[in-house]
Structure formats: structure tokens, C-alpha cells
């Protein structure tokens, strides 16, 4: 038992407290990874051989309706127009249930596997033989912000580390010039709950997400380059300034060991200097072929921006970024003619119609592109929403659907996922998940497993508990989802 080489996370190795010593000497896998990241000596060994090296996660905020997309409910068609809740006992999130409302799009079977997909996703439907559907998802909350937190951090409370932060903490970075965890928000803005969806929570701040601004292609990171009016700011002066700043910050840090934010900020300046070179290269899509540009439909005014996000995700993955998160939708507002995310209270056909076409094009292009480049085998793609929508209609015209924390569908593809399967089920109407019920815990545990991480071993001691992404309520890895 030696403390040689084992850095206690975020602390001065020479100032170990008794508690720190016991904690570190106990052998933290994450501690080793952190030491590797901070000293750049190479990566820690994963717990077992990984199937996936990286993750691309597509998040559809607002609440995607499972009964209009991937969860086919013939019984709902039979009961169309009948009261969903004849006894009048149920209260949905923001309304009383209306009549049973079958899918607004026709369902068909697709691919060799015969999975059901609605006509909202004609392009994704051609990819079903690569996809595994998790039909029995549930959330602990029917609120957007907390729901997003749960699917991202495993907890509905704000302030916990995002899955991308956990994965980076566990596995370190593969790229010297790009951040390990990148978030690509919708060009309209951040998702419900904002930036902390990609936060590091109680993990050291170096693991938080770096956001690439997808709205301004020439300036992917806000203020990465100085405005033109400052002639004195040249690359040479910048370099000298950074060296001076580093010295100042090191002197300041000496009596303040253990503050991970100071360390993260010192690292951030160094990363920013490297990003000035690497970010323009990664976001410059001119080198992509015409076929690729068409595949992602980049020129389309509505579909193009999300296609661009998906193409950027592929380029980041190719360059060793460990975890990329793409948002298909922004924060809610009712002021727009079409909702800025999937939250279709008033008009499912209008809002899911819009966002469905966006997701269908970008996500199918991403799957096909990854596959043709041989990247799908070791890239895990996850697509999820924070909850589903009700099979009973909402609103006077019955055109909307209310929130449904009791049931939704997520899907995974690539990275060692068993393709073409459906796992779990909702009841006959799609109101509640009833068979092999899943929460974020099992999805996260399965994703970590594919990355070579035992979810019970990836921990961080905080508030008297060895905290983990998957919490303490879940059922662990879903073996049926593994190839």
C-alpha cells in the first residue's frame, strides 16, 4: 500500500488528511484515472474489455411521445375517441385526460427485425436493424428540468455530475487538443435546466462539458478569439500572456491546494489555447464530401442545423472526443408558433411533425455515416427524452398530449448493443411501463458497462456517501441489451 503516484483527487498529494489517505489507499479507479488525466501519463485500465470507446448521446428535450413514434399500441386505435379515464380520477401533469388518442402517424414494421416505427420517422425506420429499443422507461418526475437532470445525471435534483462527466472521470481523454466531453446545444438555446445538464457536480470541475456554439459556425466557442479591434492581441502576445498567467495562477494556488475550480481554470486556459487551433478545424465542414453534406441535409433551413450538429458529433468522435451530447430541441417557450422542443401540449401533429423530421434526418444520417466509416462498432449512440406523453388527448380540440413520466421509449445503437431488439413494454394503452421497468439507472449502468466500466465501482465520495451515476435504486446492467 503506497501513495506513490496515486493522486488524491484535486488535492495536494503531500497534504493528505487521514480520511483522504484511507480513501485513496482503498484504491479508487477514478482516482487513478484522474491522476492519469492530471499528469497526462496515459489512461487507467477499464474494469473489463470495453465494447464502446465513446458515446454520442442525442437528447430530445420536451418529452417525446412514445405512442406516436416507437411504441405501437393497437388497443389505443380500437378505443379511439372513448374517454381515457371514464372514472375521472386521473390528473395528468397540466390537464384532465381527454379521449383515447391513437398515434397521429401510421405504424409499420421495418427491417429484418420487424420493429414497429411510425411514419413520423421514415429514415430512422430504415435503421431499425441497428437499434435496440427500451420501451419501458420511466422517470421520477414529470417536470422538464428535473427530468432532463435525471436522464443526464441519474438524479432529478440539480447539481449532480452528468454522465459525460462521470465517463470522462473514469476513462480520461483520448484527445490532447479537444475536450473529452462536448455538448452541442440546439442553435435555439440550451435545454430545460441549462448548462448544469453537462455539469461536473461534485466531481472536479475539469470534467464538466465544453459547449460548442452551433448557432455561429465561425465562432464555435464564445470569445475563443479576440475581436478584431484589439490589434495588440496577437498569437505571440497571447502565448506570452498565458505563460505569465499560468505563473501567477500557480503562485496563487500554492496555499490553496484542493480547490478543483482553480485547477480547472488553469487547465481551461491551456485547453483554450489548443482549441484556438483545433476548434476551427473540427467545425470547418468544407472538407466533407457532397454526399455527406446531402446525407445530413445541411442546406435545409429547418433540418440542416440539427444535421450539422450530428455531423459535428461524428467529426468530434473521429478525433477522440469521449462523450458528445447533441440536443434536438431547446428550452421551452409557448411564444413561438412551433414549440422550440418536443413539448407538444397543444398540437402534436404540428410540433412532433416539425421535430420528428429534424430528428429523423439527422439521427439516421449519423447512424449510416458512423456505420459506413466503421465507427458504429465502437461508438455507442443513445437517444432519449426526459419522459413520454399521454395516450389520452389534451386540449379542447384533443390535438395535444400531456407529460407522461410513467412511460417512454429510449433507443441505443452500436457500441456492443444487441441490435434489432425491443426490451420491456408499456401497458396496452402506453400509459405506464409495466414489463421490465427501466429508469435512468439501468440505461446508465448498461452504457457504462459497454464502456468497460463497472457502474458500482465508478464512485466519488461526497456528503458521506460513495456516490455513483446509477444511484442505489436501480437493477444494474440490462444483459438483454448486450450483443
Amino acid at each position: 500500500m503506497s501513495t506513490e503516484g496515486v493522486r488524491c483527487p484535486g488535492r495536494n498529494p503531500h497534504l493528505l488528511s487521514r480520511r483522504d489517505f484511507l480513501h485513496t489507499a482503498g484504491g479508487g479507479f477514478g482516482g487513478l484515472a484522474l491522476a492519469a488525466l492530471l499528469t497526462e501519463r496515459g489512461l487507467a485500465e477499464p474494469h473489463h474489455a470495453p465494447k464502446a470507446k465513446r458515446v454520442i448521446q442525442i437528447f430530445c428535450p420536451g418529452g417525446m411521445s412514445h405512442v406516436d413514434t416507437f411504441d405501437y399500441k393497437p388497443e389505443l386505435e380500437k378505443r379511439a375517441g372513448q374517454p381515457f379515464d371514464p372514472g375521472g380520477k386521473l390528473q395528468f401533469f397540466a390537464s384532465k385526460p381527454g379521449n383515447c388518442q391513437p398515434s397521429h402517424w401510421k405504424f409499420r414494421q421495418h427491417g429484418q427485425c420487424g420493429r414497429w416505427v411510425s411514419d413520423l420517422f421514415p429514415k430512422l425506420a430504415t435503421c431499425v436493424d441497428e437499434m435496440a429499443f427500451l420501451h419501458s422507461m420511466r422517470s421520477q418526475t414529470a417536470l422538464h428540468g428535473p427530468g432532463c437532470f435525471q436522464m443526464n445525471t441519474g438524479q432529478s435534483m440539480p447539481g449532480f455530475p452528468s454522465m459525460g462527466a462521470w465517463v470522462t472521470y473514469g476513462l480520461g481523454s483520448e484527445s490532447a487538443n479537444l475536450p473529452a466531453f462536448v455538448v452541442l446545444p440546439d442553435p435555439r438555446g440550451l435545454p430545460p435546466g441549462g448548462m448544469i445538464n453537462g455539469g461536473a457536480g461534485f466531481l472536479p470541475a475539469v470534467y464538466q462539458a465544453t459547449t460548442l456554439d452551433t448557432a455561429t459556425p465561425g465562432q464555435p466557442i464564445a470569445d475563443l478569439f479576440p475581436p478584431g479591434e484589439f490589434e495588440a492581441v496577437t498569437p505571440q502576445a497571447d502565448r506570452a500572456g498565458l505563460d505569465f498567467l499560468k505563473e501567477l495562477n500557480r503562485i496563487h494556488q500554492e496555499p490553496r491546494q484542493g480547490n478543483s475550480e482553480l485547477e480547472a481554470r488553469i487547465k481551461a486556459y491551456e485547453m483554450a489555447a489548443r482549441l484556438q487551433l483545433s476548434a476551427p478545424e473540427v467545425t470547418d465542414l468544407r472538407g466533407e464530401t457532397e454526399a455527406t453534406r446531402k446525407l445530413y441535409d445541411l442546406e435545409h433551413p429547418e433540418i440542416g442545423p440539427f444535421g450539422r450538429q450530428c455531423l459535428l458529433a461524428r467529426r468530434l468522435a473521429e478525433r477522440g472526443v469521449r462523450f458528445v451530447q447533441i440536443y434536438c430541441g431547446a428550452e421551452n417557450t409557448t411564444a413561438e408558433k412551433i414549440r422550440p422542443n418536443w413539448d407538444s401540449h397543444e398540437d402534436v401533429v404540428r410540433d412532433h411533425g416539425y421535430w420528428g423530421a429534424v430528428l429523423d434526418s439527422g439521427a439516421s444520417a449519423l447512424l449510416k455515416d458512423l456505420k459506413s466509416r466503421g465507427l458504429l462498432d465502437d461508438t455507442l449512440v443513445i437517444c432519449t427524452s426526459e419522459f413520454g406523453r399521454q395516450p389520452g388527448a389534451q386540449g379542447a380540440g384533443g390535438k395535444g398530449r400531456d407529460h407522461n413520466a410513467g412511460a417512454f421509449t429510449a433507443w441505443m445503437a452500436g457500441g456492443g448493443v444487441r441490435p434489432g431488439i425491443g426490451y420491456g413494454a408499456t401497458d396496452e394503452l402506453g400509459f405506464k411501463s409495466v414489463e421490465n421497468v427501466l429508469h435512468s439507472y439501468e440505461l446508465h449502468a448498461t452504457a457504462l458497462h459497454l464502456l468497460g466500466i463497472d457502474h458500482e465501482q465508478l464512485t466519488w465520495y461526497h456528503n458521506g456517501l460513495e456516490q455513483r451515476l446509477t444511484g442505489f435504486e436501480g437493477k444494474g446492467v440490462v444483459q438483454a441489451l448486450l450483443r
Binding site: 501567477l248 503562485i251 490553496r256 482553480l262
Partner: protein
């Protein structure tokens, strides 16, 4: 940030004159509320002479000591 650094440099020049040995301590006083240590003083003078007062002021504004309250 850059604009404020330019204003700051102008103020230092007004208050401390053109000598780096007076500019460095005045800038530390205003930015951090303390005098520079010997090490910081030497580091600051060297940088200021190489890169100018504006770059020096910009660095102070970006320093962790300026951004984070203890």
C-alpha cells in the same frame, strides 16, 4: 474584458507614470488589494517590459485571484 483592460492600463499610466517599477505595484494594489511579492514583482516587470502594460493588465483580470473570492 479587453476594453476594461485597456481602461485599466490607461489609469495605471495616469496614476503611476511610465516606470514599470511603479506600475506593477499600483496594478496589484488596485486589482488584488495587496502589494506583489518579490517573485510576482520580478515576474510582472519582466512581462510588462516584454509585452506592454495592456497585456499585463489583461493578465491580471484573467488571474484566478481576481476572478475567485477566497
Amino acid at each position: 474584458m479587453l476594453r476594461q483592460a485597456r481602461y485599466f492600463a490607461e489609469r495605471i499610466e495616469q496614476e503611476a507614470g511610465s516606470s514599470p517599477s511603479a506600475q506593477v505595484p499600483r496594478a496589484f494594489e488596485l486589482a488584488f488589494g495587496r502589494n506583489p511579492s518579490e517573485r510576482e514583482s520580478k515576474l510582472g516587470m519582466d512581462f510588462l517590459q516584454d509585452q506592454g502594460l495592456f497585456a499585463f493588465c489583461r493578465s491580471l483580470f484573467n488571474a484566478n485571484e481576481f476572478v475567485y473570492v477566497d
